[in-house]
């Protein structure tokens, strides 16, 4: 840790941009932690990290394991990215972030394999795939690269626990309805047949769809109806971008200033142009 701090030039004396300033100090720390839990919940509100959300939530134990593993990777990589944010040149930051994240994922895999072999078996290839979880890279790019290590750790913890919460909620519903158990213990009375569809892939999509609809309903209650449907992926390729930053959402201050927004806009223009040219040549179906 001290080595990384020493590598960061001028870190000691330069005023930290992230230091939660003056009177609003305490609330700002709290806000950075709690925003990930509900208001910006990664899975249910930002639609990030949907692959593990759908794939491993067939049993509550898997959900908890996956959530905590992701939280660990999030916190560690956000802290390291934040410490190195002034050393890493902007042009190679994404590969650098991926390398940092991959190191922590490898560490997590080794720990899980050594101490929780059953969980390792259950999570299978989804454990190494934390590397490409949009939440982790997204938070590194959007938050940790612009804030100090303490705030980044809090942000990672909040986002990670919010993600764990949605995984547990989702897996509790699917395990209860699909197998009639919770954490492996029989809960449903035996005369209620388990609905096997719930633990199949189709059930995963359906439960997530209903959960997101419920969260939209909670958000809408009392609020003015907006033009854009909540949770609608933008019409362009933005939704498929690993750094899904809600660039089209004017309320998100994170991206408004960064170069990422500009990059995405240029990328979208390129895609639109490419598609238009293709349509001219081949003719769309």
């Amino acid at each position: 840790m001290s080595k990384e701090a020493a590598l960061t030039p001028g870190k000691g004396h330069a005023p930290e941009a992230d230091a939660p300033v003056t009177e609003a100090g305490a609330t700002s720390w709290k806000a950075e932690f709690s925003k990930g839990l509900l208001a910006e919940n990664p899975a249910l509100r930002q639609m990030l990290g949907l692959c593990p959300t759908l794939a491993v939530t067939t049993a509550v134990t898997n959900g908890i394991g996956m959530g905590l593993a992701t939280t660990f990777v999030l916190v560690c990589s956000e802290v390291v990215v934040s410490l190195l944010r002034k050393v890493i040149p902007g042009s190679v930051r994404i590969p650098a972030f991926i390398t940092i994240i991959a190191s922590f994922v490898t560490l997590t895999m080794m720990l899980v394999k050594a101490y929780l072999p059953a969980l390792d078996e259950a999570l299978g290839i989804y454990l190494p795939l934390i590397v490409v979880n949009c939440i982790v890279l997204g938070r590194a790019e959007m938050f940790a690269s612009k804030h100090g290590p303490a705030l980044s750790a809090l942000d990672g913890l909040g986002m990670g626990l919010g993600f764990t919460g949605s995984l547990v909620l989702m897996s509790a519903i699917r395990e209860l309805l699909g197998a009639g158990t919770l954490l492996g213990f029989r809960v449903m009375p035996s005369f209620i047949e388990p609905m096997l569809i719930m633990i199949t892939p189709a059930g995963g999509f359906a439960v997530l769809g209903v959960l997101i609809a419920i969260s939209v309903w909670f958000e809408r209650r009392g609020a003015e109806p907006e033009g854009r449907p909540a949770g609608e992926p933008s019409d362009t390729l933005c939704a498929a971008c690993p750094l899904n930053c809600g660039v089209n959402d004017p309320n998100r201050v994170n991206c408004a200033d960064g170069s990422l927004a500009e990059q995405l806009r240029r990328f979208e223009e390129r895609v639109e142009r490419g598609l238009a040219e293709k349509n001219d040549v081949g003719g769309d179906v």
């Binding site: 692959c51 199949t200 040219e277 349509n279």
Partner: protein, 196 residues
Amino acid sequence: MAQYASILFSMILVNNFVLVKFLGICPFLGVSKRFSSAVGMGGAVTVVMVLAIAVTWPIQQLLVAWDLEYLQTIAFILVIATLVQLLEMVLKRFMPPLHKALGVYLPLITTNCAVLGVATLTVDEGYTYPEALVAGLGAGLGFLLAMVIFNGVRRRVDEAEPPEVFRGMPITLISAAITAMSLMGFSGVIEHLFGA
């Protein structure tokens, strides 16, 4: 021959990467609105998957030989990211028409979990080199199939008027659930056909 056909079809239908294994959900939901972009993305993913397997399989052998298996994740993700970048440059220089068709989707694939997933999966399954390549092709074609089917479903859904809270993502996910159900019918078919 039978074992290759078995791997190919089970990757496309039974273990479909998107609808059964939930890999590559982001592009599946994000780029499936238009037919041309669904096909373009599917094609690009197929090409990158086969190339990624072609590169990562030998690397895995090296890692095993040097007792460095724990570096697998780091090595694979970096190699795939570099490969995609390189592919875009080569296509741009030598095959402009193909670059026009696939190029715009390539940057999105770099951190797509489906590509890293197929590379990891072939290692876990202990496939030989040709088997691994066929598995990569199957996974890519399965992704393409899912994109095309789902594009058809989605164009109907966009015309419909669901309850307000279901508009957008929720109804898209629920139609994905119904699409996923259609693939459940294939489990067991492949074993029957090829006796694997």
